[in-house]
Symmetry: D2
Subunit: 346 residues, 4 copies
């Protein structure tokens, strides 16, 4: 049994980790870290876990946890993981960091967009960006995995094959993304309360959202050029789900079949990526509760643009599910282990 | 492998059966029956099943299906199962009927509340009412299981121990129930469309809902007296979940601990019934996607009444989950097999 | 022009007062009191008021406000209004208190249910309970109006004619109420955030909600006997609306027409109470945004009970609308002035 | 009093017309046309109108109606209005057509996108496109007003000043729009039922939505060049509201103040257009129930694009409200008459 510790177990991503790991036959959760609820029973914080999880919440002592766990998931605010990381910890246990601390290779870019000083830049180089379908082999050998953001997972995977194969003009890429409200976390703030979100939609962090440089860096690797995009997130009155609608100019005329072949080249053997059939638009509800990414596209000959669409469950493939997928890779387990949840509809 | 057939596989309860059976290690679905979608691929009707279910929809030929399946689930409109049932079919396969056809022992009561003539009353006597926690041993030996209704499962289990032990005056029992909209089915009717349900609540079928006699019959067995109740269902703007709030006068003064002991007497070893801790009110969200029933109660000394509350996922414990639980009993499998889904939150 | 001041203008009830008074041709709001947002522009707190309300938020100095306003609405937490009230203030201006401070005549009952000491019990006697349809004439002469609670308005009006005419056994009255989430206020607490409320339903404050004694007192006056009820509120995933489902045993056999005649006796000339046609169940959506109360009932001969149903918009008839209706009575205006909003559907 | 007739009074746009006209002091609705509900009381179809509207539904005989009404609103499926229009009708009454029949000047474009043959192309030239803020003077003199579509109203007004003043490269314009579900109408279809829409988001009609040529034509007039855009609508789980997020490359470097000045040039005296303050993103909830358009923008120097955002209530400014605004213009009334509804929040 893999002994897993979670720091930040009482946020929504942490809760989803507990849900998934509880159903994972090779894992035992040994530490439910939650600074806000120390000593409180976990099931009192998440009543769905009543009679399923018996443990109490612990503090966030990563050094002590490193002794007890084979892998630590940090589902914590930006800066926390970087502030705790030491060579000693990495020598004892694997780290899967769900925050942004090790996602961006250029520490200046990180510090600029996040507005904080990175406390352990010496580990950035070694960290592997945990987008499983892209970096599978590197992840297997890693000590420290930077689990991608929810918007970024969806945004990158939706465009990745076309960027990689040079079908689209990267200067024209626009990502218009829509997210359910669990992405805003479990913090009690007026903009998150029910009556403010319900029956409402808005864009936010326009031209300034922190997931922008992460998208740019990764698609830049794929396209082998510097990429600058417009990324606009929107808040949607639903619990879970991200839909990314992406626009780009085609470099030359292509047919549906040609584009489909490019997607298939990269994704047809992927367990968790479903390129839908022609004409079917992805819907977040069809992936809810699962680790799937549903993708499709439409060529518009009138504008010579391609419209790409991708849908994920932000808490699963966008956070906890991908983290477990990374864990499976790290420990040589089948990549799908514990992640075979069928999407729940309705 | 148990070969399972589903008639009515494209309704919401049928879809949930597919979801659950897909994750059940001892079952293979051999027949996706759907009169409305014959020959259409199942995954085209439920896109969440894309690349998970490859089959096409079949007709509802129960005779043919009886040859191929070890168990048939009928998630069909009232009257269908009764109209198809024969001794020959029952000789070849087990039947778990999710409709009301065999739930009510008195065929006159059935015909009165449902307004249809029962086509095979000769099987009513033999049918076992599939409320697993109450009729476990009878179910194990059955050929024909009448899977309980969603409202009834929740309403009965919430009051059952107190009825059985004679703590409450059955003449005073009132069940005020609230259900998510998946209970109304996937039929396209104006009252079910989004804008009519959203931001709205209403009672319906007041003093006339068909689940009433089912509740009365079963609680009558428990209380060993004739029971007549007020049952009022309400439609709630959410996909899944039933909450039953039940009121009854206490026959004599009792303490919290005494009532708790009665609940524990019946439920403490049940895998799927969670009697919550004192003061915690059940919430439908805490059981969503799972087979749990969450129950609690509050004694009001001012009125000498007890208020009982129960929550289920109407598509799981209220339909497909309980049907699979019944199947597990019929085939001698662990009762929890395929049903260990952790409730999904949020 | 009536000069109106609002203390607590940035809560949801306060916001609704602003919305309604903005459309009232005889009123000018002169004071937008909000302790939390002093000096902030009101339209920055409620962006819907951009270019409609130009004012900045003020403090809650009732003495000063009493000099400037002909009427003060206090949409404030329990205890505030009582702590500020003086004979001097009442000598200068009318007060419509949307809190519970003056609703309950027996100060001990108030202090017990609310857990606070009443700071100005000397004004309780004089205060008029502002349920317009019941106390119209007293309200016209009042200086201090205790605006009823949202649950209570709905619960009382739904049963009032039957209590008054002695048709129902008051000892059997049970009120099962369901409310949208705006009733929980604009406070940022985890239980109010979107993902906790959405796709969920729960009862709360079972057998202990503070609106209970208010219902009991008022229905007691109507029935001319002491009344003790079970009142159970539930939180519903919608913004606005309360539905009360009420159960009581009939004292003797009555027909639909007899009961209808009793409702008509009290309500047929009321502008804001609509007793629906036979068989139509009230839905909260049909009154949304308006001051209407929709009521209907169903007699169940099987149990000899009557099920009464009432629906309101909790922020209008349950708070701000009724407050304006009271203001109209206080100032001799047509009772419907400023309140002719047609319910918005969908 | 203006006598108004409505054809299609029982759709959502028709219902909203009734709501608005009921509150309009200069209008009397004389005809509630509804082919589906002939002879049924209007308030039985829309229970919110109980005791407010007494009339029964009529057929759709426009010739007869033209005798009785000063203005006819046609809130009917595409093709209906065109099929009924005659010189005689136009000689007797004004027509405000909420369908697309007269919106597009090039009948071939109409026939191609809508897939129907236009039955009265002879009136297309004379029809005035009823976007009040753009075509005010022409509307005043019209007999036949083509009321704009919901998506188009929002999409055009959001970009109009920048197109008109040549600030943006029209070849780069992308409109990503999100709409509440009332836009899908009151038809009973599976994709519209509650459980299919709730907790879900999807794009639809990608690169093929019928509002595309309407946007292109109108922005083409503004920019004085042929315009081809990508327009992608999305379905959102809420009743009302459209948010358009629009992207375009700036022709040259501009500052916030310069762009703001351009918006102000066209909109600062408009009653129903609110250009928000810097940094405030439009939210559909802030305009709900009102005729407002809330607009703002953000310049992204990294990509040299401008992101424009606009929010409306699709049933008000996107349909019935704008129709009434057009009526006010046609009859020389103050443009705001009957349209001063304050947005309802929450």
């Amino acid at each position: 049994m893999i002994r897993a510790g979670i720091i930040g177990a009482t946020g929504y991503a942490g809760g989803e980790l507990v849900r998934i790991l509880t159903g994972h036959k090779d894992v035992k959760v040994v530490w439910y870290g939650s600074r806000s609820y120390i000593d409180k029973r976990y099931a009192d914080v998440y009543q769905n876990m009543f009679r399923i999880v018996d443990a109490r919440c612990m503090d966030d002592n990563m050094e002590e946890l490193a002794e007890q766990a084979d892998v630590i998931f940090t589902a914590t605010p930006q800066g926390f993981c970087a502030s705790m990381m030491t060579e000693e910890i990495l020598g004892k246990t694997k780290i899967i960091d769900l925050s942004a601390d090790y996602r961006i290779k250029d520490v200046k870019v990180y510090e600029e967009w996040y507005g904080i000083t990175h406390k352990s830049p010496q580990f950035i180089e070694e960290a592997v960006y945990g987008l499983c379908e892209v970096n599978r082999e590197e992840i297997k050998k890693a000590r420290l995995v930077a689990n991608p953001g929810c918007y970024t997972t969806c945004s990158i995977l939706t465009a990745y094959p076309l960027a990689k194969e040079g079908l689209i003009d990267m200067n024209t890429l626009i990502v218009d993304a829509k997210s359910g409200t669990s992405g805003a976390g479990r913090g009690a703030k007026v903009p998150n309360i029910y009556c403010e979100v319900n029956e409402n939609i808005k864009a936010y962090a326009v031209a300034s959202h922190r997931h922008t440089p992460e998208i740019e860096e990764q698609l830049g690797y794929a396209a082998k050029e510097e990429v600058v995009v417009n990324f606009t997130p929107h808040l949607i009155p639903m619990n879970r789900g991200i839909l990314a609608t992406e626009y780009a100019s085609l470099k030359e005329k292509v047919t549906y079949d040609e584009v489909k072949a490019v997607y298939d080249k990269y994704y047809k053997d992927e367990s968790f990526i479903r390129v839908l059939e022609e004409g079917v638009c992805p819907e977040t509800k069809w992936v809810e509760g699962s680790n799937y990414v549903d993708i499709n596209f439409k060529i518009d000959p009138r504008t010579n643009r391609i419209i790409m669409m991708g849908a994920i469950d932000n808490l699963v493939k966008g956070a906890a599910g991908q983290a477990v997928q990374n864990m499976n890779l790290l420990f040589g387990l089948p990549e799908e282990e514990g992640l075979r949840m069928v999407p729940m509809f309705p």
